[in-house]
Symmetry: C2
Subunit: 249 residues, 2 copies
């Protein structure tokens, strides 16, 4: 971000960075009206969560990294808010795990698809999928169902940050391992996920990357054991309890 | 709202109406980017609150009505989200209590001030204050401090729905009786208020009006007794406990 000059030590650094990126997203036609409202909902949950990565979310991020490293065909699904908030971080995660990047919008327009792909290219992405739209997710309306045949349609592991509940359920019914990043532990997306990460994507995406780098040299058996041991309901319950009893004191 | 045809019995009526009005607000240049994000924060808190008027909020609305009826110079402060969400309801409340309406924006531009005044006129408002800006709230930056000398500056009782914390504190320091409508019981605005109403403004504003109509024939002594008996900290604690233990079950 060329014109964002606040030092990381600033107490409101993360919040100011988020604000700056969202504004840039609006200017570029990436962030939608619904995206701004969703951003506000996220802010409220993050406030209640204490604006930090709680231990269960960190564990979920580590398990997500294991899944991505073990996958044959991992894909990171990117919508308007994800592209606005963590464009460079998504590219770095894709590089660290060999995952593909696919743009996938709830309110799909050609113009927004292209603006987002362009924004990702500016942040270093080489191949950005989603514009072919030659595959369909079963059980969804025509527009919502569109994906790339060699992208999300084929994927065995998908990361869907800030995903709509219907699509999260439909992807899960296709038998995919679904990694969801969502600040509301009670959302259908979080409830549906194989790996729910209840955390701000600004923190969660770089955290998955860091875990992926650490896990590069770990054996496949060890990664599998980590995945086996993970309890998604436990992770959701822990986030819910943090929201309930944590920062509201 | 001419083009909103969903029956009130629809289970998501309130949420769809809110969405419709916010979209209209954006089209008319009334709702800002920050307003959309604030709307999202409100949605999250309302979800946790159970999307209903809890008893302590209903009591606070009744006390607010008493204050407005007893006031010499009551003013309803209207920002972009208030104008978008409850334009007709604000006009009705002003009529029921003899309060003035004043537009007051955190991000003040002449264009938005005028668009909001126009929108309120379309919903039946006669006099809309805020454009004179010939008074100043002490202790605030120049732009944030602007109010009408014969409006908020002079007011003894002000209703400030969805108000920024700094301005809520500055108004309170001027000795005004401040009625705040805010879904976050921990916000500085809510904490500063003489009467905090932790409720969605879509429900709270008509509810104050209803109480004002019921209290028309109640004696001044009785209204004063109601005001004396009100405990703002108790109301905030009750809302916090509802958010903590209510809908999150």
């Amino acid at each position: 971000m060329t014109d964002f000059e606040i030092p990381e030590s600033h107490p409101r650094y993360e919040s100011l960075l988020t604000r700056h990126r969202i504004e840039e997203g609006v200017e570029k036609g990436i962030t939608s009206q619904q995206g701004l409202i969703a951003q506000g909902r996220g802010e409220a949950y993050d406030y209640l969560l204490g604006e930090e990565t709680i231990p269960s979310a960190d564990e979920a991020a580590r398990v997500a990294a294991s899944h991505l490293l073990l996958a044959d065909h991992p894909v990171l699904s990117v919508n308007g808010n994800v592209a606005a908030l963590v464009p460079g971080e998504i590219v770095t995660l894709a590089e660290a795990t060999g995952a593909a990047i696919e743009v996938n919008l709830f309110n799909r327009t050609k113009k927004r698809m292209e603006a987002i792909a362009e924004h990702l290219h500016e942040h270093g992405a080489r191949d950005v999928k989603g514009l072919a739209a030659d595959g369909r997710i079963p059980g969804l309306d025509h527009e919502r169902a569109k994906v790339d045949a060699d992208g999300i349609y084929e994927a065995d592991v998908v990361v869907v940050p800030l995903e709509d509940g219907d699509r999260a359920e439909a992807l899960s019914e296709m038998g995919k391992t679904e990694i969801v990043i969502d600040l509301n532990p009670l959302s259908r997306s979080a409830q549906t996920a194989s790996v729910p990460i209840v955390d701000n994507i600004i923190r969660a995406v770089p955290n998955i990357t860091e875990h992926a780098r650490e896990l590069q040299d770990v054996s496949e058996a060890e990664r599998n054991a980590m995945i086996e041991a993970f309890d998604p309901d436990g992770a959701l319950a822990s986030a819910e309890s943090q929201i309930r009893d944590g920062s509201l004191e």
